[in-house]
Symmetry: C2
Subunit: 364 residues, 2 copies
């Protein structure tokens, strides 16, 4: 404080502040700071930290700030809030193409995760962080904010031993509600843990999604069996590698099981439909510390008279209600309610409201 | 063969033949014969074999046949079919009241399992068996007969690693279909494994049940994800202790998970609704070798617009379709189809047919 070493200052991007937050609150345990060259390479090449622990995506701080090992950098949030400091232990250059190829399985700039690391650049500051505060969150998120320590306590207070976590960056339609409830049937409790960090353009904003989650909590989930928390992570769209990171984060929040659906954390056609499930075949689940639960395509089936999946329903596709994302967005924009077998009418109302406003903003 | 030692012969009861069958086909592994005094006591008192392995219900051969250690007894099925032989290693008296108290948690003669062991008596022949044949089964069962070795192969051939087993002695209504499918959603395959051994009077006969299972296999379960086999075991109605035995049997058939619902293997009011789940709290699941999946009360909920449970549905009871067993039997006897949200119409038709015939036989 005030000493020459603290003269360096860096305002983190929203994406970096998200990493800072998970490093600070224990969501990224065992990490205690931004990775150095050895961890970066080890994670890229063998999906493990240099120490041997499973870790799937580098957590690095790329910046042009001139700093050297031994420096201390004051860190602040995009809104200027002071967050804490970084003790620089190392300055190194990462090879973005290597990271893209090994972690994202593509070097294509059209991939939003690859584009993001290219924008960030190659020069990274590494070292442990010390937090004095966490980034601010909007009220809608803040009231659902739980640190890993708090969620663990909430689970323990309820006597839950088997807790399944659900990651989402989308509204919860009936297909998702179904798989969370199927997983809950064989668990003690469900942790709805939507991601509220940066997502790509075109994804539904987190505040709109939160309204959808809240109404489902009020009307369709059992209050004694479901906890809604928010995950401050950003999206990498790294598919399989990100499914593993998502599982690790939820392990740290105290969950025992983690739902992995089709094309988890995927984007476009970069990953096979079940690649994010197959990656767990080569992982020792005991070592990982959380067990994945794999789901296939889920839908309403007229012949089953209920929600089902490719695993549980033997009926032909004609019996299934299928709406593409594009079709649903079109309906919502036009103020048409999608079928109640596709989404709860309360959720549809929220999305129609949001899409209507967006259309209005678009000048339509 | 023909030597003086083989002069002894015993025709097994249907219940004993059921035990013989599971001892022979590996369903009762690691048992290789009928238990002696040390195992009997150890199982009653500490739910373990003398060797330390978990075992929950004594498998003993009570008979008045005069025999001594060293004798060989030829065993045959109730229909006279020669099954194999018992090498008598020990003759001992079991204390039926002790077994009733410790295993069945009651000495009440009204309990069908307790009544059965009282009828069998105290004097037991113990020793390893050697099988030359298995008991015959009706064609409807025989075509679905799989030994543990065969079911393991069937699972392996399909590449299933996570296999959930469902025990039942009842028709599968939608509540049961729902829980089997919820369990299947988080597994690779489902093993429907109805019990076809002796059940108590008033239970629906196995042949009628088989017709219900077959039509569900044809119309509502996915052929690539579900295997129907038959379990030759008899019912003990021992609730918690029998839930453990049912799990052990399915472990031997190659399953990794086992569904335990409300009042599993219970009868009357002898056991608390969730006693058969709680018993697993004190069992090392790794040692047991199969993981129980616990389910609560399931039903159709109008507000959920689907099947749900006390865990997953927050709506009031008025929204739930509930029919007592008595009510359903009355409807079926009168030829009234229960609501399609309660049971599939194809199942209702089979049961109405069976109940109609039964009523006709009753002279009505």
């Amino acid at each position: 404080m005030g000493s020459p070493e603290t003269a360096l200052a860096l305002t983190l991007s929203a994406r970096q502040a998200s990493d800072f937050e998970l490093l600070s609150n224990g969501g990224f345990a065992p990490l205690e700071g931004f990775m150095g060259a050895a961890d970066w390479r080890s994670v890229c090449e063998r999906m493990r930290l240099e120490s041997g622990e499973i870790w799937s995506i580098p957590i690095t701080l790329a910046t042009d700030l001139e700093a050297s090992a031994g420096d201390v950098v004051e860190l602040s949030a995009p809104n200027g809030k002071r967050l804490g400091r970084l003790e620089v232990s190392e300055v190194f250059d990462r090879d973005v193409d290597t990271e893209a190829e090994l972690v994202y399985r593509t070097t294509d700039d059209e991939h939003p995760g690859v584009a993001a690391i290219r924008r960030e650049g190659t020069r990274c500051l590494a070292g442990p962080i010390e937090a004095v505060a966490l980034p601010d969150h909007e009220k809608a998120f803040a009231r659902r904010y739980l640190t890993p320590e708090e969620s663990r306590k909430a689970f323990a207070d309820r006597g839950w031993k088997r807790i399944v976590a659900f990651q989402t960056r989308n509204p919860i339609h009936r297909a998702h509600e179904y798989l969370t409830k199927a997983a809950l049937e064989v668990s003690d409790g469900l942790f709805l843990h939507p991601l509220i960090g940066e997502t790509k353009e075109g994804d539904i904003p987190a505040d709109v999604r939160m309204r959808c989650y809240e109404i489902l909590m009020e009307r369709y989930y059992h209050p004694e069996r479901v906890i809604l928390g928010v995950n401050p992570a950003k999206m990498h769209y790294a598919g399989p590698r990100e499914a593993v990171l998502h599982a690790i984060i939820r392990r740290n929040y105290g969950c025992t099981h983690f739902i992995v659906g089709r094309d988890h954390a995927g984007v476009g056609d970069y990953y096979g439909t079940y690649d994010a499930q197959r990656i767990f075949d080569d992982i020792d689940i005991g070592e990982l510390g959380i067990e994945p639960l794999f789901f296939e395509h889920t839908f309403w089936c007229q012949d089953c008279e209920g929600m089902a999946s490719d695993k549980t329903c033997p009926h032909p596709q004609e019996s299934h209600l299928f709406l593409s994302g594009t079709k649903v967005r079109e309906m919502l924009s036009r103020g048409e309610t999608p079928p109640h077998e596709f989404t709860r009418e309360e959720v549809a109302a929220i999305l129609m409201d949001a899409y209507g406003k967006e259309s209005a903003t678009d000048g339509r």
